[in-house]
Symmetry: C2
Subunit: 273 residues, 2 copies
């Protein structure tokens, strides 16, 4: 079984660092001429998968936009997840779950069990209950060739107070990164346990040094409509830039169903120029 980190690294080596968001936002569904319904979200997601397949290595469905239709939305999401994985895409379920003990294990089971209806390759998770609360989920992921992306440092201004609070000798975000690093098996070139680090976060203000983050995949939202430009990736992340997954959603998806493929290629060109 190939570890998630190795699969992700290979996908990025083959197709670049762009991660295409699958966000069936009401505004976008309407712009695409689709119903604001589970059926519309399914159609939306499948079209993004079609356009992404063969062009990029990684997609990131945004779970909340499916969840608002309950079980029908989840059935749509299951079809989108399956289509994406069948197309050879690495799939990060952006679910931002987080709990303790057997409850957290059930979330890991939901998103990372081979053959489960919601199977993805990795899932995003919250560290507010302590990174230790994610230990069982991390072990489950590693045992199944899957990954986690733990929220560490985000770009939204209202996050700064908490994420920069000193947890011992370093900011909370750095303490999270250090604890995540300690959960992974040593030796892999890319870890299977990644971090979410917003594209416009000043890494130094969060205590996030290149040493600390070395080898950890960094899922970086905030490109496109959220403010960062893809061609800035190397400048923003320095020596860490090769392990950044630059995630863009609205700026690609607003191209509409017929413009998607071109938009994806333009984004890739900007990122990998």
């Amino acid at each position: 079984m190939t570890p998630f980190g190795a699969r992700l690294q290979a996908a990025v080596a083959a197709r670049g660092r762009l991660c295409v968001g699958i966000d069936p936002h009401t505004t976008l569904l309407s712009a695409w001429g689709l119903d604001a319904s589970a059926r519309g979200a399914r159609e939306f997601g499948l079209r993004v998968v079609d356009a992404a397949a063969g062009r990029v290595g990684v997609v990131k469905p945004q779970v909340s936009f499916f969840e608002r239709w309950g079980s029908a939305g989840f059935a749509a999401l299951e079809d989108v997840l399956r289509a994406a994985r069948d197309a050879g895409l690495v799939v990060i379920a952006d679910a931002k779950r987080g709990d303790i003990g057997s409850t957290m294990s059930a979330y890991a089971e939901a998103w990372l069990t081979p053959g489960a209806p919601l199977e993805a390759d990795a899932v995003t998770v919250h560290p507010y209950l302590g990174v230790g609360s994610l230990e069982g989920a991390a072990r489950f992921a590693l045992e199944n060739g899957k990954g986690l992306f733990v929220l560490a440092a985000t770009s939204n201004p209202e996050a700064a107070v908490l994420q920069t609070a000193p947890a011992g000798a370093e900011p909370v975000a750095a303490a999270v990164a250090r604890a995540v690093r300690a959960l992974d098996e040593p030796g892999a070139s890319w870890s299977s346990l990644g971090l979410v680090v917003g594209a416009t976060v000043e890494l130094a203000t969060r205590g996030l040094s290149a040493d600390l983050l070395q080898g950890i995949p960094l899922l970086a939202p905030g490109f496109g409509h959220q403010g960062a430009r893809l061609e800035q990736t190397d400048a923003l992340f320095g020596t860490l830039a090769p392990q950044v997954l630059a995630s863009a959603s609205r700026s690609i998806l607003s191209a509409g169903p017929t413009g998607l493929a071109v938009a994806i290629e333009q984004h890739l060109a900007e990122l990998e120029a």
Copy 2:
């Protein structure tokens, strides 16, 4: 439209502070003679609702244990949520969601929209992205007579480093509580925006004073199998004890389907002695 805080306060006044967890854990399903499946989880949830109705005011389905069966699990959860609300119970969906902007709004929409398939009365949420990231969800809740419970201070030992980190002049947990308080409309006897505060947390170590928490409903897991005894509630929470929702799951659910009603009554008696 009655605000959530007022509805919760009335439910507690009528039926006491016990909140019955609905956790269809694999071990419990097996002990109850039910399949480890969405169908088993549905049956489990409906039996808990039956036993809880008329005995307590509040139930708390644990979403992860349904989510692991994907859309089928969510369909089961929808039935359980509907049955609980139809029985007049106040329903807190323990989903622990958390995101920013329109993504967070979609989670609020999923769990708090009147008539939505997953409609609950309140949902638990994460503050790692800053309480400000929850502002839209809070507004949505207040406009719809619904509530949020924001994770503030939890009992699991691995949470302490983050939750006690100084965010300005006070620990992160207290900063979260203060920001949540600021989001609510003033004047209500009980706020519609509550906090999750573990039963065995030493409130002082988290900067959580009686003044700061006054009028904020406190959802307190950690009773029963997790270590705190219900008869200690007044000692643990002091003047805040009347606004505590003492949540117990395993210690009730392990009584099995035929023992549930008695277990609930015993728990209530211990709590309200």
